[in-house]
């Protein structure tokens, strides 16, 4: 495999559009956590005002709910939650200006098509590696919805968090591709 590509958000967000599915990326810079309850709020505010709240246009959503601060770090453990649960809301958020999402697992085809339509990407992080991923978070600040607990909208500052391009802007999807090639390798 080739060496990972370093990307700093939001400055290098446009460079994500150049990356092919399967490329490993070390993500630095700014992302926002958003899970199920967060999405309900964001989409309601978007419907009311017609624009993404909290200056989220051109930003990246990380489907994650961290544990509280621990070991001298701003979050204890943090990792991707199942992206599929956010699929119903994702096309409208990409249309409104979200440029990338980070999660785990295969997604509905409507998300793949929306990535193509809006030049957005879906990035996969390793579920279950949350103590490790937590060491790549250097700052965390709650932006909205503190009453949601771990589902609050939190701005994170990342330092080389490892992810892979799971849907690229041309609509290639890693889970299906990886499975086809691996199953081919695995069979005698």
């Amino acid at each position: 495999m080739s060496d990972p590509i370093c990307v700093t958000l939001p400055d290098d967000a446009a460079s994500l559009r150049l990356l092919e599915v399967g490329t490993e990326v070390l993500l630095s810079g700014r992302v926002f956590t958003a899970r199920d309850a967060t999405h309900l709020r964001l989409v309601a505010e978007l419907a009311e005002t017609g624009v993404l709240p909290y200056d989220l246009a051109r930003e990246t959503l990380f489907y994650a709910g961290p544990t509280p601060p621990a070991a001298g770090r701003p979050v204890g453990a943090i990792g991707p939650t199942t992206a599929r649960r956010m699929d119903a809301w994702t096309p409208q958020l990409l249309a409104a200006g979200i440029v990338a999402t980070i999660g785990k697992g295969a997604r509905d085809d409507s998300v793949r098509r929306a990535c193509v339509a809006h030049g957005a990407v879906y990035l996969a992080a390793v579920g279950g590696a949350a103590a490790l991923l937590g060491t790549h978070v250097v700052a965390a600040e709650t932006v909205a919805y503190p009453e949601l607990g771990t589902e609050a909208l939190v701005r994170l500052e990342l330092d080389r968090l490892p992810v892979w391009v799971a849907i690229d802007v041309r609509g290639h999807e890693l889970y299906a591709l990886a499975r086809r090639s691996s199953a081919g390798e695995a069979r005698p």
């Binding site: 495999m1 399967g22 490993e24 309850a37 994650a64 709910g65 961290p66 544990t67 509280p68 601060p69 621990a70 070991a71 770090r73 979050v75 204890g76 453990a77 943090i78 990792g79 939650t81 199942t82 992206a83 599929r84 785990k104 697992g105 295969a106 996969a124 390793v126 579920g127 279950g128 590696a129 949350a130 103590a131 490790l132 991923l133 937590g134 060491t135 949601l148 607990g149 771990t150 589902e151 490892p162 892979w164 799971a166 890693l174 889970y175 591709l177 990886a178 499975r179 086809r180 090639s181 691996s182 199953a183 081919g184 390798e185 695995a186 069979r187």
Partner: protein, 279 residues
């Protein structure tokens, strides 16, 4: 004599251990999988998971940010009389352990109506079964949403046979594994009734990885399923490879002559459980 307070103390300590220390059998299985994984990306993912276990244990931080709902299964000596309010004692232990160890609160007050976070990870899901031997064996499992969501139950006809069970497990893993944090521990229950077969599948997850079922027929099904699941190509984190599952554990039970209940409860790569004896 076993008191409710003794059980609560064991639950408090077990939660912290399960959240931060990977089961030794699971860790050893991850390392074995890394040594034989065919996909370079898969090997890198497995490397992250092994390093994750080291960091979590060293720093006392959770293995996974989803520190789960708490399932407590108490096998209680029939002559024991724990006294007091056992559910309340266990809930107190959950509340204080989640707070003291900076774990994530992940319980909604009501599934259908008020989905407000209860803020203290209670209630715990508690089962008590009786046994002739004195004392108590307390099993504590922290179950993440991703892997529990990727589970399934079917009421098959007896004519479906072993092959019908096999196909149902494969279909479930094939459709849902990428969100369940593979490599998986696949728990399968066969038998019982509609309400008990899911518990059989969950109990199967307590069995050490690598230990086959006692019955040769069941062990043969486990072995075949593990090979077939690992030929699906899903791989570590679903990003391709051979290590889709570390183990398949099947638990069986009697059932109605008309029935063949089957349940699949997927355990993630951080499969978290601790079993303690309370005298």
């Amino acid at each position: 004599m076993v008191r409710s307070a003794d059980i609560a103390r064991s639950v408090y300590a077990a939660i912290a251990e399960a959240a931060t220390t990977l089961r030794p059998d699971v860790r050893a299985a991850l390392e074995r999988a890394q040594a034989i994984e065919s996909s370079p990306r898969g090997r890198e993912v497995l490397g992250q998971l092994v390093e994750n276990a080291t960091i979590a244990c060293r720093d006392g931080v959770p293995l996974c940010q989803d520190t789960g709902t708490v399932w407590v299964w108490i096998e209680l000596g029939a002559d024991e009389c724990p006294g007091g309010d056992l559910q309340a004692a266990v809930d107190d232990a959950v509340r204080s352990s989640y707070r003291d160890h900076a774990l994530r609160m992940s319980v909604a007050a009501d599934a259908l109506g008020d989905r407000t976070n209860t803020g203290d990870n209670t209630p715990a899901f508690v089962d008590v079964t009786l046994r002739p031997e004195s004392g108590a064996t307390v099993h504590v499992m922290l179950k993440g949403g991703g892997s529990d969501n990727a589970s399934a139950l079917a009421m098959l006809d007896p004519s479906a046979g072993v092959d019908g069970v096999r196909r149902f497990v494969l279909e479930t893993v094939s459709a849902k594994a990428t969100g369940a944090c593979p490599p998986l521990v696949v728990g399968v229950g066969v038998g019982g009734t509609f309400d008990t077969v899911g518990k059989l599948a969950k109990k199967a997850l307590l069995r050490p990885v690598g230990r086959p079922a006692g019955s040769p027929v069941t062990a043969a099904l486990e072995e075949r399923l593990l090979a077939e699941i690992n030929a699906l190509g899903i791989g570590p984190a679903g990003l391709g490879g051979t290590a889709t599952a570390l183990a398949v554990a099947v638990t069986t039970a009697p059932c109605h002559i008309a029935a063949m209940p089957v349940a699949v409860n997927l355990g993630c790569s951080a499969m978290r459980s601790v079993t303690v004896e309370v005298a």
